[in-house]
Amino acid sequence: MSVLETKDLTRRFGTLTAVDALTMSVEAGEIFALLGANGAGKTVTMKMLTTLLRPSGGNARVAGFDIVHHAAQVRRVIGYVPQLVSADGALTGYENLLIFAKLYDIARSDRDERIREALAFMELTEVRDKLVREYSGGMIRRLEIAAAMLHRPPVLFLDEPTIGLDPIARRAVWERIEDLRSQYGTTIVFTTHLMEEADVCTRLAIMHRGRIVTLGTPSELKASIGGADRTMDDVFIHYAGGAVEAGGTYRETSRARRVAQRLG
């Protein structure tokens, strides 16, 4: 059963078409990756799917709800971890989760239990009463994922979840994400420009200049360009023309570096 479907989903900014007639579907329980260089349209796609940005054309459904006409219902069934740091550094980890538990209408009687469980799941119990500005980058990301999962959404969107993290922290974050999927059956949709992360997904789509240039399982994509000895890097270079340096405006670059600096 597909939990996410897009049909000709398009977003234009003036004359620039950031996302161009995107059509795809994601099945329940998948870990689905959107891969692409900076400026390929991954984040814009994610912002449309999470109701932050209205499409210029086409449509999409998340867990059966139209992202434009039923935006309020979509918001109840998704969790979202933005690329930018979204935990409040001036609050403790516990307080961050408490605020979101309240915003997501988790019943008062369940709140403490739910928060305790989320902190334990993300291995943050010991630092729950510390201000988040004292957390490491990996801890901040795990807290953000915990906040996004408090209301147990069937679909979780992660925009560049490991940007700015060192390999060890990155690994810890991914282990938690994979556990989420196995324990709660959460469908995970994430963006990345790291090829090695593409290997953890069930399927991936490579985006280039707003379009999906190819879509399949990692092994299918490797096979499509000549076999199992190919790496995801080869796949990416083949489909996205090796244009890793294409795109990425001043603003995007400075944002990405700022995030990296905060988390690093």
């Binding site: 932050l52 979202y80 933005p82 979204s86 001036a90 609050l91 307080e95 605020i99």
Partner: protein
């Protein structure tokens, strides 16, 4: 029944957003103290000099007494009008995105921010009451008058912080915002009855003062804060104007706030 649940839910969400801000203040209250310096200067320096000149007709009040409610309104305005900076800061982080993706109504997000600006405003009220008392201003300590001041300060802070949020949603960058914030505060302050009565202004400025919500805020504060203070417009009208302005601003703010995430 459905309507009551909806209103209760809305109020609850509004207070959750305000709670978020209040918790931050609790962890780091230094901001509240540094903000006391400016109003102290106004009262101590300007107030004491002008009290000696007797140049401004205050309806029989000592000038310091006359200006104390004006300085309270001013310091609340100065805090509130730069509230948008915090919104832009949150935008550079991902907090705005996270809030907008939650099922919280946009109006509750905006009103919650307004209420939390009000909480900061209340701390100013405490400081200014203390300063005014030390300087010998005759203060009306009647509990109802104090409650009235709290309500007016909350409303005033909420109005100007929401205006600030709207500007932030339009300009989006800190640099542009700072420019506009500076340009806005002084005219709002000077084109009001905060430190001199509207009656002594030239006609064109009187017109500006009449459409400036700050004038009504000061008018109400003057009547509530001082035993000898009188409201020129009537407390009812003052309050009604502030509530209507706030409602209008919140509706506009709720439409524009999502732009911050784009």
């Amino acid at each position: 029944m459905g309507a009551i649940t909806a209103v209760a839910g809305f109020a609850e969400k509004t207070f959750v957003i305000a709670e978020l801000e209040a918790r931050k203040l609790r962890h780091d209250p230094t901001e509240l103290l540094t903000r006391a310096i400016q109003p102290a200067l106004w009262l101590v320096v300007l107030g004491s000099v002008f009290t000696r000149t007797h140049a401004i007709p205050t309806g029989g009040l000592p000038y310091l007494d006359f200006m104390a409610p004006g300085i309270l309104a001013q310091s609340v305005l100065f805090i509130a009008i730069f509230y948008g900076i915090a919104v832009i800061w949150e935008r550079d982080l991902g907090l705005v995105h996270k809030l907008l993706v939650s099922p919280t109504p946009r109006t509750a997000l905006v009103l919650g921010k307004a209420v939390s600006a009000g909480v900061r405003g209340l701390s100013q009220a405490v400081i200014i009451y203390l300063l005014a008392w030390l300087l010998g201003v005759k203060i009306n300590w009647h509990p109802l008058a104090l409650i009235g001041v709290l309500v007016v300060v909350l409303l005033g802070a909420a109005c100007f912080s929401t205006l600030s949020l709207i500007i932030a949603a339009i300009v989006k960058t800190r640099e542009r915002f700072m420019g506009i914030g500076q340009v806005l505060t002084m005219p709002l302050f000077f084109a009001s009855n905060a430190i001199y009565p509207v009656a002594i202004m030239p006609t064109w400025l009187q017109v500006c003062a009449q459409v400036n919500p700050l004038t009504y805020e000061v008018d109400a504060l003057r009547a509530l804060m001082l035993p000898a203070g009188q409201s020129l417009h009537g407390l009812g009208l003052d309050g009604a104007i502030l509530v209507i302005v706030l409602a209008g601003l919140v509706l506009v703010g709720a439409r524009l706030y999502p732009r911050i995430a784009t």
